[in-house]
Symmetry: C2
C-alpha cells in the first residue's frame, strides 16, 4: 500500500496540454489507455497501482531530453520506467504525470574488451547484455532476481548474488549520461579506472531512484569469464550454524563469488517449484567459486574447513554449465517459488543489510518475528553482504493482514538500522520505506533534500519518492 504522500496531483490543464503536445510529436508512442497506464503505475511490490496520466515510449537520449523539457515547462511529473521490476513503489505515479518508458533505449553502444568496459543505453537488460557478451569471454556479474534494465538497476543501486565479489551498481558504474530535470544532457565519469576530477556525480545519480534526473546511458565495468567456475551447495541442520559459517568465510577473506542462504521454508518452496528432488528442506547455502583452477581449489578447501567445523553436510558440486544453470535458476526463481507457497497472496519483501558480525542475530530475530506473525515467511539472503530478504506472504485483500505485514517488515528494517546496518541493501527507499528511512537517515535527509531542491527545483522528477518528508 502506498503511504499517503500528501502531494497534490499535477494540474489537469497542464497535463492535457502536455499530452496533446506529446501526441503531436510522438504519435502512437504516447498512450493514455487505461491498461497501459495501470501497467506503468506500479512495480513488483504489493498494493494497487497509481497510474500516470500517460505513458511515452522514448527511443533516444535526445527524445528523453525533449520530453523532460516539456514536462519541466508545464511542471508535470515524469517517472522513468524500465522493466517495472522495482519493489518499493518507485514507479507509482503519486502525483500523476508521465511515465517515461525507456525500454526503447535498447542498444549496446560499445564493448571495449581490452579495457573491460561497455557502454549501453538504459533500457538494455542484464540478460540482454550477457547474451551479447557471451562469445567474447566477458560478462556483467550483477543479477537482481528480475531481468531488470541496467538503468533501473543503477537507479536503485541494485546488486544480487555476485555482489560479494564484484560489488554493486555503485562499484561497477564508471559513468552515465543523464537528462537533468530541466532537460539538459550531461555526461558524468569516464573510462579511467579511477579519477579525482571533481564531485562524484556518477554515484549521486546511482541510487537516486530517478528523483534527480533520468539515466539514459551507462558505462559499466565488465569482467573476464573466469577460467574455472564451480558451483555447489551445502545443507545444514542448524539455521544459526549455516549463517555463522557465512560470516566466518567473509571474515577469513575467502573471495567467494556467490554465497547465498535459503531457509527451510524457502528450500521447501524451491524443491517444489524447481523440482530439486535430490535436496532436503533444510537451511542451505548455495555457493559459487570463480578463478584459476588452483585458486578455485584453494577457495573450496578453505570453505570446506569452515563448513566442516560448523556442522555443514557434504557438498553437492556443479561444474558443468547446465548443472550450474539449473542451480542458479532455482535460486533466481526463489521469489516465484515462495509466492507459489501461498497462491493469491501478496508479498512484502524486506531488504535488511547488517554488519556481518550481526548477521546471525538479525536473521534469527527476523525468523522469530515471522513465526510469531503467523504469515508464511521464507527467507533468502545475499548473506555474504549481510543482506537478507524475508518474504512476508499475506492476504492483500485483508486490511488487517496488510497492516500487520507492513508492521513486521518495518520491524525487521528498524532492527537492521539499530544494528548499524540499513533498511535497504539493494531495493531502494521508493515510497514504501520512507518512514523507516526518515529514522535511518537522520540529519543527512535534510542534505539530500537540499540537493534535490537544487537539481529539481520544480519537483517533477519522480516526486514523492526516496526523500523522507
Amino acid at each position: 500500500m502506498s503511504p499517503d504522500t500528501g502531494l497534490a496531483p499535477a494540474s489537469g490543464d497542464a497535463v492535457a496540454s502536455l499530452v496533446e503536445t506529446l501526441k503531436a510529436r510522438f504519435g502512437e508512442r504516447v498512450s493514455t489507455a487505461q491498461a497501459m497506464r495501470d501497467s506503468h503505475g506500479r512495480g513488483e511490490g504489493a498494493g494497487p497501482p497509481a497510474a500516470p496520466d500517460a505513458v511515452v515510449f522514448a527511443q533516444t537520449t535526445e527524445e528523453v531530453a525533449e520530453i523532460v523539457a516539456l514536462c519541466s515547462q508545464r511542471r508535470v511529473p515524469v517517472i522513468p520506467f524500465g522493466a517495472g521490476s522495482s519493489l518499493e513503489g518507485q514507479l507509482d505515479a503519486v502525483r500523476g504525470g508521465i511515465s517515461l518508458d525507456l525500454t526503447g533505449l535498447d542498444k549496446i553502444l560499445e564493448v571495449n574488451a581490452e579495457d573491460l568496459d561497455v557502454k549501453v543505453e538504459a533500457g538494455v537488460t542484464r540478460e540482454q547484455l550477457n547474451a551479447h557478451l557471451r562469445d567474447q569471454g566477458l560478462f556483467f556479474p550483477l543479477d537482481p532476481g528480475a531481468n531488470a534494465t541496467l538503468g533501473g538497476m543503477a537507479s536503485t543501486r541494485a546488486s544480487g548474488t555476485n555482489a560479494v565479489r564484484y560489488g554493486t551498481m555503485r562499484e561497477v558504474t564508471l559513468g552515465l549520461t543523464v537528462v537533468t530535470a530541466s532537460g539538459e544532457i550531461v555526461t558524468t565519469g569516464g573510462r579511467a579506472r579511477k579519477s579525482s576530477a571533481g564531485y562524484d556525480l556518477t554515484r549521486l545519480f546511482v541510487g537516486a531512484e530517478g528523483t534527480l534526473g533520468v539515466i539514459t546511458e551507462l558505462r559499466l565495468r565488465l569482467f573476464g569469464v573466469p577460467e574455472r567456475i564451480t558451483s555447489g551447495l551445502c545443507q545444514f541442520d542448524s539455521f544459526t550454524n549455516a549463517v555463522e559459517a557465512v560470516s566466518a568465510v567473509i571474515q577469513m577473506g575467502v573471495p567467494v563469488a556467490r554465497i547465498e542462504f535459503l531457509d527451510t521454508l524457502q528450500m521447501q518452496a524451491c524443491i517444489a517449484y524447481s523440482k530439486l528432488d535430490e535436496l532436503a528442506a533444510k537451511p542451505t547455502l548455495f555457493l559459487e567459486f570463480h578463478g584459476s583452477p588452483a585458486s578455485v581449489d584453494d577457495q573450496i578447501e578453505q570453505v570446506r574447513e569452515i563448513f566442516d567445523a560448523m556442522g555443514g553436510g557434504a557438498f553437492s558440486w556443479a561444474d558443468k554449465e547446465e548443472d550450474r544453470s539449473r542451480l542458479w535458476k532455482a535460486r533466481h526463481d526463489a521469489y516465484f517459488a515462495a509466492r507459489a507457497l501461498a497462491p493469491g497472496t501478496q508479498s512484502i519483501v524486506t531488504d535488511a543489510c547488517v554488519p556481518i558480525s550481526r548477521l546471525a542475530e538479525a536473521v534469527e530475530a527476523a525468523a522469530r518475528d515471522g513465526e510469531k506473525s503467523g504469515f508464511a515467511c521464507p527467507i533468502v539472503g545475499h548473506v555474504g553482504d549481510g543482506n537478507f530478504h524475508v518474504m512476508i506472504l499475506h492476504d492483500g485483500e485483508d486490511p488487517d493482514a496488510a497492516k500487520r505485514a507492513k508492521a513486521l517488515s518495518d520491524r525487521i528494517a528498524r532492527r537492521a538500522v539499530e544494528m548499524g546496518g540499513t533498511s535497504t541493501g539493494e531495493h531502494g527507499i521508493g515510497l514504501n520505506k520512507l518512514a523507516v528511512a526518515r529514522e535511518e537517515l537522520g540529519a543527512s535527509a535534510a542534505l539530500m533534500r537540499t540537493i534535490k531542491d537544487a537539481l529539481d527545483p520544480h519537483s517533477i522528477m519522480n516526486p514523492g519518492k526516496t526523500l523522507p518528508v
Copy 2:
C-alpha cells in the same frame, strides 16, 4: 603558480572580528604568526604560499562545527588542513580566511575486527592507523606517497600503490561525519557493506576537496593481513614492453596487489637515493602479491608467463618483511629521489589516468614530450590503474621555465582526457587543474556548481578550488 582566481578577499573587518572571537574562545590554539600562516597556505605543489589570515587548531568535531558556524556568520573562508601534502594547491588561501588545522582530531575511535571496519578522526594518518592495527592482523591498504591524514585522503579521493586490488578512498569509505557549511554535524553512510538508502552523500564528500564541508570522522574498510605477501621486481630493456606487460596482467584479471612502473631516469634516481646498488637503471616493475600461499604461487606463475613473453628479465624476490619494506620504502621515496636529481628545482607532478589499452601510448607520448622539453622528467606510475606521474623538474625562479613546465603538464593531462581518461587519477583538481578540468568536465561542471551553491551558499568552504569558473 596559482592561477588568478579573480576572487575578492574576505572583508578585513569580518576577519578581524572573527579572529578576535576565535582567540577569546580557543586561546593559543589560534595563531596569526606569519610562519604558521605561511606553512598552512600551501601544500607540496610548486609555487608560493597564499597564506590564510589565521590558523585554528581544532580538537573535536564539535569544535569544528563551532568554528565553521562562526566563519559562516561572518562570510569568512575556511580551508580544512591535514598533513599539508596535497599537490594541486588545495590549501592555498586564495581569499584569505581561516586554515582549520585538523591534526588534533587524531583518535582511532573504534576497530571492529569482525566486520573489518574502523572509525577514525580525520587527522589520523595512514601510518598511525596501520601502526595501531599491527597486532590485530588487519591493515588499511591505501598509501599515497606522503603520510597523509585520512581526512585529506578522502577529500582528494586518494589512492596509491594498492588501489589496483583494494580500490581508492571512494571504495573503502563506508561513511563520514561531516560539518556542513552552516556548521551542522551530519553523518553519512553506515556499517553495512552495501545500502540503497538514498543519495550517496558519502561519495559526494569524498573527492570534494573541502569545498562542500569539513570531514571530521571516517568509517573505513579494513582488510585482513594476507596469509602470504610476496614482493618482487622485474627489469625490462624496453620501456614499451614493460608498460604493455602491465596491461596484459590487468586484462588477464590477475589479482595483483601492487604493480608499479619506474622509468630509467626514475630508477637512476632511486638507485642513488635509496642505495639499490644491485639494480640497473632500466624500466622496472615493482610488484606485490597477496593471498593464500597457493593463490600467490598461482598469481606469480601467471605474471611470469606474461613477463617472459614481453622480454622481462629475471625476478628479484622479497618474501621477508625487511626486504619488502626496503623495496617499498624506495618506491615511496621516489618523489624525494627524483627531486634529488636536480636539487633546488621545483617539481610539477602530473596525474594522468587512462584506460589500460591506451596506457603504453600515453606514457610513451608523455616521455617524448618530456625529452623535447629539456627538463628532467622521471616517470613513475600506478600503472595497474592506468595512472602515471611525470615529475617535471624545473627552475621555479625562471618564469619562462615555470610556464613551459605548466604547459607540458597541461599537455599530458589533456592527452589523457582525449584518450577517454582523466587529468587526475588521485591528486584532485585544487587550483592547478581548474583550466584542464573545465574541458574535462564539460556540462557536468555546471551540475557541480549547482550542488556547491546549494550546500555552500556563501561560498566559504575552500573557495576557488575544484569548480571550474
